[in-house]
């Protein structure tokens, strides 16, 4: 049984004026110890998916319209508030993007980590404190610094504290939402390196949300590319980097300036991500797609298999009769 199986998850934000279809029928599966990169740009629905797993969608206006989230067999969408609270921080943890605001400014760093441990573990306060120091050292922060306040730490260090907090209860799944975007490049490298080592050591599975395919190359085993609330390409690292198939993914690779390529001009994807409250008909990417033809504006493609484990949501890969998840 996979650790995490998301089936047909659909989340909408319903307001008086419009319905924002943030996530539309996505399917993801994750085994123990695996890391999946959830790649996409602003508005693709990545953060909404993460919040959906943790049951943190603001209930008006957000609504989980359909689907299942099976975590070790239990459907999280059917779990009670009480059960979800037990899971959050203990079995599933999340790291958010901005380390500057993720920590409580008036609480000592060690205490914040100890709080998580104490709330979830059946241990005494003293044991929680010991665990918090252990976690700090695991992320490369000296034990003495546990008595300091967040403002005394730099951005990179703060993010390490956040990671320590997230891993303190040894969760099975860690969701990291753009964990290094706000950090300087050299600090990002240190933090990513540390995260990779830690998750290998603790056997934690991870959903890594990012827009940076370079980070995906360094940290992930599988990749899901999201666009307009749907997964448009899904496969192993090899599949995506050696056999990139969906025109959007190809466009992403082409529009990124990179160190090893020598180009005179970049090839950006024309146009913009569609407004999630007014999505185009047929394939959601077709208005920007250089390979689109007429049928693309009428028929919304399914995820078609390209090779075992690798699929793309594009009519280019449709075979007669063969439709795969």
């Amino acid at each position: 049984m996979s650790l995490l199986e998301i089936k047909d998850l659909t989340i909408h934000y319903v307001t008086k004026d419009s319905i924002v279809k943030a996530v539309n029928g996505i399917n993801i599966s994750l085994e123990k110890g695996e890391t999946i990169g959830l790649v996409g740009e602003t508005g693709a629905g990545k953060t909404t998916t993460a919040l959906g797993i943790l049951g943190l969608i603001q209930s008006p206006p957000g609504q989980v319209v359909g689907g299942e989230i099976l975590f070790s067999g239990t459907d999280l969408l059917k779990a009670s508030d009480h059960e979800m609270r037990k899971i959050r921080g203990d079995e599933i943890s999340m790291i958010f993007q901005d380390p500057m605001t993720a920590l409580n400014p008036i609480m000592r760093v060690g205490d914040q980590i100890a709080e998580v441990v104490y709330l979830h573990g059946n241990c005494s306060r003293a044991e929680a404190v010991k665990r918090s120091i252990q976690m700090l050292e695991m992320v490369g922060i000296r034990a003495e610094r546990s008595r300091e306040y967040p403002h005394q730490f730099s951005g990179g260090m703060k993010q390490r504290v956040v990671i320590a907090m997230a891993l303190a209860c040894d969760p099975k799944l860690l969701i990291a939402d753009e964990p290094t975007t706000a950090l300087d490049v050299t600090i990002q490298a240190q933090v990513l390196d540390m995260m990779n080592k830690l998750k290998k050591k603790l056997g934690t599975s991870m959903i890594l949300i990012t827009h940076d395919l370079g980070i995906v190359a360094e940290s992930c085993d599988k990749v899901a590319i999201m666009y307009a609330g749907r997964i448009v390409e899904y496969g192993s690292l090899e599949d995506i980097f050696h056999n990139v198939s969906h025109p959007y993914t190809i466009g992403l690779f082409g529009s990124m300036p990179s160190l090893d390529k020598d180009v005179d001009r970049l090839s950006p994807i024309p146009g913009l991500m569609p407004d999630p409250s007014a999505l185009p008909s047929g394939c959601k990417f077709h208005p920007r797609c250089t390979s689109a033809w007429e049928e693309c504006s009428k028929v919304e493609p399914e995820l078609y298999e390209i090779s075992p484990g690798h699929c793309a949501r594009c009519l280019l890969f449709r075979k007669e009769g063969a439709v795969n998840e």
């Binding site: 600090i187 190359a217 690779f253 082409g254 970049l266």
Partner: protein, 320 residues
């Protein structure tokens, strides 16, 4: 190719309760007309301050700025405002850099109104349309407000505004850092095209080395206010000489699973630019540091033709 901008021993210090903050310390470079200087570095390296000081938006503490043959370092306020017609800036944040109360047309026309150019409203409107066309903004957005548009379009407004006075020189301060990847490429191409069409000269400030690779002629790497390395763009990537540049390059995640990880990892944190000691500023993080590095500020010297480095041990590290 004539020299448009020359900066000599430029310093900008800020007084803080904890001491003097050396935001920009002894920076020297020159740029020819039509060229682009990429200025790269992480937080606290002083690149944004450098950009604004060169533009005279911030008053320099010391040094000389020579623009188009004229020493503009310490000129009067009135002349400074006149300079705006020749030197402009594009900001990083596409939201906070646009007055939320003004429509797109008003935002682009504001500099024209400030200098009383195109007094006739009809002519002004035509000029605004022309500028919108130049930056790829559809005319139908002229009465929209910034909050109604996405980041990419907002940034185009910023570009149009910077171009409205027909400047020769533009400082692009992290113009694409806040944008989505696919939009970044569009704006970068736009900036490149505009440079070719209008003969513009750029200083392109960014923390992302990959972004400046193809747009810059020369790249200047800064660290805690000081120049660390400067060389022609392509050479910097093939042959980085300073340990910091090497670390910076290897830290950038590359979207390629076949290249083995060349790990020159920089340990430690960025040190403070306040009251820096008389030593190499990079010494705390450098794996090649020797005694000289702890006691003397390294000289900024031309190690290879056109390739300048500030490092005591540059030759021994690189086998030169």
């Amino acid at each position: 190719m004539s020299e448009l901008l020359r900066v000599e021993h430029l310093k900008k210090y800020f007084k803080t309760p904890m001491g003097m903050l050396h935001a920009v310390d002894d920076v020297n470079f020159s740029i020819n007309q039509g060229d682009t200087l990429g200025v790269v570095g992480e937080s606290g390296c002083g690149k944004s301050t450098l950009g604004r000081t060169v533009l005279k938006l911030i008053e320099p503490t010391d040094g000389r700025i020579i623009f188009d043959g004229r020493d503009i370092t310490f000129i009067k306020e009135k002349e400074n405002l006149e300079l705006r017609k020749q030197m402009q800036i594009i900001f990083q944040d596409p939201f906070s850099s646009l007055n939320p109360r003004l429509s797109v047309a008003d935002l682009i026309a504001d500099p024209l109104k400030t200098f009383h150019l195109y007094r006739n409203p009809e002519e002004r409107k035509k000029k605004v349309h022309e500028l919108m066309d130049m930056v790829g903004l559809a005319k139908r957005f002229e009465y929209s407000y910034p909050h109604e548009l996405d980041g990419g379009r907002r940034q185009r407004i910023g570009v149009a505004r910077a171009l409205s006075l027909s400047p020769k020189f533009i400082v692009c301060d992290e113009p694409v850092s806040a944008l989505d990847v696919s939009i970044q490429a569009q704006i970068l191409n736009l900036l490149q095209d505009l440079q070719e069409q209008h003969g513009l000269t750029y200083i392109f400030v960014t923390h992302d080395l990959s972004v400046v690779k193809h747009i810059s002629n020369d790249i200047l790497v800064m660290y805690i206010g000081a120049m660390v390395e400067k060389s022609p763009a392509k050479e910097l990537f093939k042959l980085p000489l300073h340990p910091y540049t090497k670390g910076l390059l290897s830290a950038i995640p590359v979207p390629n699973i076949d290249i083995p990880k060349k790990k020159v990892q920089l340990q430690g944190e960025l040190t403070s630019p306040i009251e820096p000691k008389q030593q190499c500023r990079f010494v705390a993080r450098c794996q090649y540091a020797t005694e000289a590095c702890h006691s003397k500020v390294p000289e900024y010297e031309e190690v290879l033709p056109g390739h300048f480095v500030s490092c005591h041990n540059v030759r021994s590290i690189n086998g030169l």
